[in-house]
Symmetry: C2
Subunit: 443 residues, 2 copies
């Protein structure tokens, strides 16, 4: 008896933690003026095909039970683009928090699942360059700071710069995408391995690859942008020049936001998906490997995104483009970090919000409990009672302690006769008598 | 270009209304002390099979792409039972708000979809009779009152009473379930039609059916329960007697809750699903057909539920039973009612929560806007700006009016020189100057 492979139940303690985490992310998205939309988990199969490159094989398809061919969404970006094209929306700032599905090899301890939440914020529309892009980076910065996940860095690059590098190094244009996905591995493996994959598997010339290697191992800030803008080869390439100019503008805006300290212009960042066309970025958490050495290692990506100006046009019958830029927060990885931290701290998260337990100290008082709890519910107070006719008072108070209910409202024979309720602070055992007719406390 | 049949997108206005509606439902569930859980949309196919009777054909199955055979959940109840059995949980009060999937004929105008939200509250555990059951009815009463959906009635019955009726009328036991599903149609078609289906399609004897007809057309309150407890035939049937005794107890508790005015003991209520074993109920909205006549008609079910004491045992290897009772709020029907009402009222729901638009009245002030908005975001204020280098002030104020942003924070050359920000109330056009160094308002 178990759930499907790569999927999981969230018991109450996990659900409460997840709600808290999603709440923090959504509150940031709302702070930036995004509206919510919802799209179906089921999409027409043809909507998803041809959008994810070689990852298309990871899409869950439904059985043909008659009717349409359906599939489960792979991300929230393609459905968003379908939504924009379908409704001819050319201008929108939206967030979407929902589950997506990938027939991938699960690695549940590292937060990789087959069914998992994505938290996406996207800005669609034709605007002045880099203003929405800068806001996406600000959002990542706000969320990672807010959640206190420790030190992090947001790597930034631009597909136009990468393509410019490939072009000036002599990589043929039809090999740009495969070269891209190999370069993307540089955060996990050393350059030698990447080099041999490019030369071997991808069949690129060793000389061209070596020239690429000199560029993609660079990272830095504004200084590096300036240096590359002066680069004799790169400055001659139209795409690279455009990308570098925009990168400079982006850094200007990020300086005004005061967040360049966490931003790194990193030429090795390539991102997997085909649909990116401009700025791309990825946030990774840093961990000090050794307390005595000032060296940090990445513990994996927790947010990523970029600009995809062509995707909506793929859905529009007339190919009309709607430029988009967006960010996706990798909530599952963050969730497992917070879960481990909570476990280590020994802190117990409350799974309910109950304010008061309605209790009776003697037998035959079920009617009094039912009447009082009904009044409390009607007054909007979160109240519980044990589902027993005659529970022991000790058992009722124990339930409060087990579940973190702070107050007990006790009605006994004496209280009924006096027309009062005894309100007990479970932790301090302090008690006050409340007049039930006027609802004001007397000591 | 469209979403799958029977599914739909929620654009921002609808998503905002749905969030408000789900928020009201969840806040009621929390008021009653329920914890949230989450289970996957994907379940193993074998988990769902054999739980829904003839509705099993409506389950969406995934293609066999290697690995496990999966299906999309049909409701939240069976996954909940699977969860309880799997984790050996014998005692739990939980809510779950999530989408479920049915390969049914969609009727979107009446709120029937293939992908739709269910809002479930369930109490699992061995308790004293009718206390959790009464709470489920209280919850339906609270939610329908809170949402101001107009007049409603909650029909109540008990599978044990129905089975007792069938037994004393001479229906053979193996025909109880088919008889049940025919009787259930009595809210839509007259008795004559139900009678002929029972005699014709279901092959029951006309005499037995006529005897059933005398019972199942009865409805009332405590008086009817008392009358049936005295019924010479029914009072001899063990199951019916148990059911009627519990029904009397239920009415006692509902009287203490003060909600019997909306409760109707209705012997025609049968509910479709096989797994119910005790109390069943269904809430329907009432509408006055004619302003001058005091007659009301049902406009369909908006909530339903009941007791299912055997379902968890079906999953437990040793067949251990965990008694459960629960309620499901039919959120889609309620949503379409609220949507129509909103449309009729002409009221426009805000889709964002933005408090202030950061605006500039002259050109070349993008940097000032970016700096100010960044400070506002960092202070937790919901702020937007237009993604233009030099937008016209009129356009910026127009955006506030279009999207309902109440305030504009304006920084012009004068304000920059004076170290202030002009805060403008968009509706009244009132303006105050705020000192940006000490952040206190001066007039």
């Amino acid at each position: 008896l178990r759930p499907g492979q790569g999927t999981r139940d969230h018991p109450p303690a996990q659900a409460a933690l997840r709600d808290r985490l999603l709440g923090a992310v959504v509150s940031c998205f709302k702070r930036h003026g995004a509206a919510a939309i919802d799209t179906p988990v089921l999409e027409l199969r043809e909507t998803l095909m041809g959008k994810y490159g070689e990852d298309t094989k990871l899409i869950y398809e439904l059985q043909d039970q008659g009717g349409e061919l359906l599939a489960l969404r792979y991300d929230l970006t393609v459905p968003f683009a379908r939504y924009l094209a379908m409704n001819k929306v050319t201008n929108m700032k939206r967030y979407h928090v929902a589950k997506v599905y990938r027939r991938d090899n699960p690695a549940m301890t590292r937060g990789r699942y087959r069914e998992f939440y994505q938290c996406d914020f996207d800005i669609a529309g034709q605007f002045d360059p880099m203003i929405p892009d800068a806001e996406c980076l600000k959002i990542v910065h706000e969320i990672l700071s807010d959640l206190q996940l420790g030190d992090f860095v947001i790597k930034v690059n631009d597909r136009r710069i990468l393509n410019g590098v490939f072009a000036v190094c002599g990589i043929p244009e039809k090999k740009f995408l495969p070269a891209c996905s190999t370069v993307d591995k540089l955060d996990k493996v050393p350059w030698e391995e990447v080099r041999s994959e490019m030369v071997g598997e991808k069949g690129l010339s060793p000389e061209a690859v070596d020239r690429v290697g000199e560029y993609v191992q660079l990272h830095g800030g504004l200084d590096l942008i300036e240096q590359l803008l002066q680069d004799p080869k790169l400055s001659q390439n139209k795409l690279a020049k455009e990308g570098l100019g925009d990168m400079k503008l982006l850094f200007e805006y990020l300086t005004l936001f005061g967040i360049t300290g966490k931003i790194c212009f990193d030429l090795s960042l390539a991102r997997g998906l085909d649909y990116y066309t401009g700025v791309i970025f990825e946030a990774v958490l840093l961990q000090q490997e050794n307390k005595h050495v000032e060296e940090t290692v990445s513990v994996g990506s927790v947010a990523g995104g970029g600009r995809y100006d062509g995707l909506v046009g793929m859905f529009d019958p007339k190919g009309r483009k709607v430029p988009c830029v967006g960010v996706s927060i990798g909530i599952e990885r963050i969730f497992s970090i917070l879960e481990q931290r909570l476990k280590a701290s020994g802190e117990k998260l409350r799974t309910t919000e109950t304010q008061v337990l309605v209790a009776t100290p003697q037998k035959h008082l079920l009617a009094a409990r039912l009447k009082l709890i009904s009044e409390l519910w009607d007054a909007g107070i979160k109240a519980e009672m044990l589902y027993r006719k005659d529970p022991k008072l000790l058992k009722q108070l124990q339930y409060c302690e087990d579940t973190g209910i702070p107050l007990a409202a006790i009605v006994g024979e004496q209280e009924l006769a006096d027309g009062v309720v005894k309100l007990r602070d479970v932790a301090t055992r302090e008690e006050v008598r409340m007049d039930t007719s006027c609802k004001r406390a007397k000591c």
